[in-house]
Point group: C2
Chain length 199, copies 2
DNA sequence: ACTGACACGTGAACC
DNA sequence: TGGTTCACGTGTCAG
């Protein structure tokens, strides 16, 4: 686009503070003319790319482009906040059972007081059947986690009996092997100890 | 701020395309001078608020303000994408256990074949002690969910016995009331049926 | 005819 | 001192 007829491009007669005074029709070109042109173009391009990022555009004006960008950024920030809050809540709710609780600490003391010791017993009943007996500290959702862990290891429990007493939990159950090979009692005992320790 | 010394504010001698020609020193004020001033001020204010929204500011320039806003919006968009993906993944992973599985469908058929019916029995043992007996379809993590639900309702179970047989799960347990008032057997039975139905 | 938006060239100011 | 940014007033054009 060509710009013609601007008074600024014309020659000047008087100038309050400048040094250059022209009385003729000679065109004066400012030193930073092209630089200023570049600067304007840069800003315009940036505004264009900004507009391309914002999905909701009410107007094509420079001011409205920036305004829409502002509301969009605010919306994005709120979305990020809501999402991270939800994520944090889900994570904390899935981790809250791992937090030690007061009654769990009391459970350990009470067990000690009554002379109950943590114990894992595994007895072979027949070739692929074991009777297990576990005494451990009472702990929130320990039973559920234990059952889940056993299931994930491919064990099937039957006749499971759970009793909680004086801060201790007694689990006795019958373990049916699902593997074809013979179950080793000692091996299972170590695995049970590991499971109990980990949950 | 006062503006002095601009060549544009001075009187003009010639004009290529305009109609107004001044030869004297009379100051000419364009009609849209204040309007243009307002427009410029509006854009500047918008850019200022935009800058206040963007946390990382490399420069105070107009162009850099917009540039930083662009990168910030891109970052926010990516963050939203990552967060929503994570949330979606967590939700789908927490919902996958609710999907019916083949062995659960088989469980229902096997129960029917063997004439086992789902049942909830609640018997009063003494004032605040109930004996419960539940027969239901075998279902993945039903037991764990049941125990969790009971705990969340404030019930304490003892001497819990779980047996799984022919696609059915038998849970028998002793329920100790933690509330001061007397536990109504019928009330507990309805609650248990609700719990079993919901999990 | 009038209002709003824009690009333009320019001087001042700031490293 | 150069290079760069900014605000300014103005002409032009579209709705």
């Amino acid at each position: 686009m060509e710009f013609v007829g601007s008074a600024s491009t014309q020659s000047c007669i008087t100038q309050k503070r400048g040094r250059r005074v022209y009385g003729d029709d000679r065109d004066f070109k400012s030193k930073n003319l092209t630089a200023e042109r570049r600067r304007r173009e840069k800003l315009s391009n940036r505004l264009l790319t900004l507009r391309s990022l914002v999905p909701i555009i009410t107007n094509m004006n420079k001011a409205t482009i920036v305004e829409d960008a502002i509301t969009y950024i605010e919306k994005l920030q709120m979305t990020v906040k809501v999402l991270s809050d939800q994520l944090l809540e889900m994570e904390s709710s899935s981790e809250e059972s791992e937090r030690p609780r007061n009654d769990e600490i009391n459970a350990a003391e009470e067990m000690k007081k009554h002379g109950i010791e943590e114990k894992v017993e595994v007895t072979n009943v027949d070739g692929c059947k074991l009777w297990i007996r576990i005494i451990s500290k009472k702990k929130r959702s320990r039973i559920t986690k234990f059952l889940e862990a056993m299931a994930s290891h491919g064990f099937e429990l039957s006749d499971t009996n759970v009793t909680t007493f004086k801060g201790a939990t007694l689990i006795s159950s019958c373990l049916n092997g699902v593997y074809s090979y013979k179950i080793e009692a000692e091996q299972v005992k170590e695995l049970l100890q590991e499971i109990i320790k980990s949950i």
